[in-house]
């Protein structure tokens, strides 16, 4: 077969695949995915606020994943960054934003009690195993990581979330 004929056949195949792809798209179809519940989310939200929700990261309205809270993005136009304290509405908004990221994989991890959590994009980003401008905010195995992975495994005890010790750590012999 000549090169020209080969290219023509390939172009026809690609065009056919594109047409078929368009025909099979159903804009009205929905998929229902079970995700971790809002009821156990509050300690996770507090963790995400400090590790991810600053104004220069996911506390920016320019981000797809938005973290709301007192020291970052406010959900209510009457509140300002810094005051008043994080509201239930903001925890709701953070929850909705978080579970909307890669929901199929989140649902799969949740359905299997947390098995292989790195299937969910957010865990890969937070552990730094996938390119993330914000680095590795929740290293694997640390309390913050266990807080988030525990929640997506269906855990109801947010106690590990409060073990997270996030703040400046001066070197030996130095003070801050």
């Amino acid at each position: 077969m000549s090169t020209r004929r080969t290219l023509s056949v390939a172009a026809l195949l690609v065009a056919g695949a594109l047409v078929a792809g368009c025909e099979q798209y159903d804009g009205n179809s929905t998929t229902t995915v079970a995700v971790p519940p809002r009821e156990t989310f509050a300690p996770v939200a507090a963790l995400l606020e400090s590790h991810c929700g600053t104004l220069d990261c996911h506390g920016s309205p320019a981000r797809n994943l938005r973290i709301y809270g007192v020291n970052g993005l406010r959900a209510n136009g009457n509140s300002v960054t810094g005051s008043p304290d994080t509201t239930e509405e903001e925890v709701d908004r953070t929850y909705e934003s978080l579970v909307s990221v890669d929901p199929e994989h989140l649902g799969a991890v949740f359905a299997e009690s947390g098995r292989d959590p790195e299937r969910w994009l957010v865990i890969r980003k937070s552990r730094g195993t996938e390119l993330h401008t914000g680095g590795t905010p929740l290293p694997a195995g640390e309390p913050g990581d266990r807080c988030l992975t525990g929640w997506i495994a269906g855990g109801t005890d947010g106690g590990v979330c409060t073990e997270d010790d996030f703040g400046p750590k001066p070197r030996a012999g130095e003070t801050w």
């Binding site: 220069d56 209510n76 960054t81 810094g82």
Partner: protein
């Protein structure tokens, strides 16, 4: 020749960063009587121009303006601005008579995130959250405070007294 000129023009246009260009445009012009230099544009997000890809020759890792009090825009000279990064490395710099400070990018290359605080005499204000990527204080600390801004940086409260500034 015309074709090459057109091609070069297109390449040059493609290389400009429209987001940065718009951010620079939004800064407006220089204030009358204040030449470009350490005293210019207090309170603005310095790294728009002085950042890694900015047009300025002087590059900063951090820069901003310190004010004396929360409810007035009186700059504070001589405030000590301290930084500690996530590796524990520390750096400090003082504000000039315009309240402005800047950290050269070769002097301090932080491992993000970075925590900061400002000291003046017995007064200290420490940031509640660290910065994860932003070196321009003015990017988040714009006036007035809004749902996406915390307002300007300050050290004291509205009753604090400070020495009078002496900027030219």
């Amino acid at each position: 020749m015309t074709r090459y000129g057109l091609l070069l023009g297109l390449l040059a246009a493609a290389c400009s960063d429209p987001i940065r260009t718009r951010a620079m445009d939004e800064l407006g012009g220089e204030a009358p009587g204040v030449p470009a230099g350490p005293l210019h544009r207090p309170g603005q997000p310095c790294l728009v121009c002085h950042g890694e890809d900015g047009p300025s020759e002087s590059r900063f890792s951090f820069a901003g303006t310190i004010y004396a009090r929360p409810s007035t825009a009186e700059p504070l000279a001589g405030a000590r601005v301290r930084f500690i990064d996530s590796s524990g490395a520390q750096y400090a710099v003082s504000s000039n008579c315009a309240g402005t400070f800047y950290v050269g990018d070769t002097n301090f290359r932080p491992v993000w995130p970075v925590w900061m605080k400002v000291e003046f005499g017995d007064l200290t204000q420490e940031m509640v959250t660290p910065s994860f990527r932003e070196g321009s204080c003015g990017a988040c600390h714009q006036d007035p405070a809004t749902p996406t801004s915390v307002g300007h940086l300050y050290v004291g409260d509205d009753r604090s007294t400070f020495p009078k500034g002496n900027c030219p």
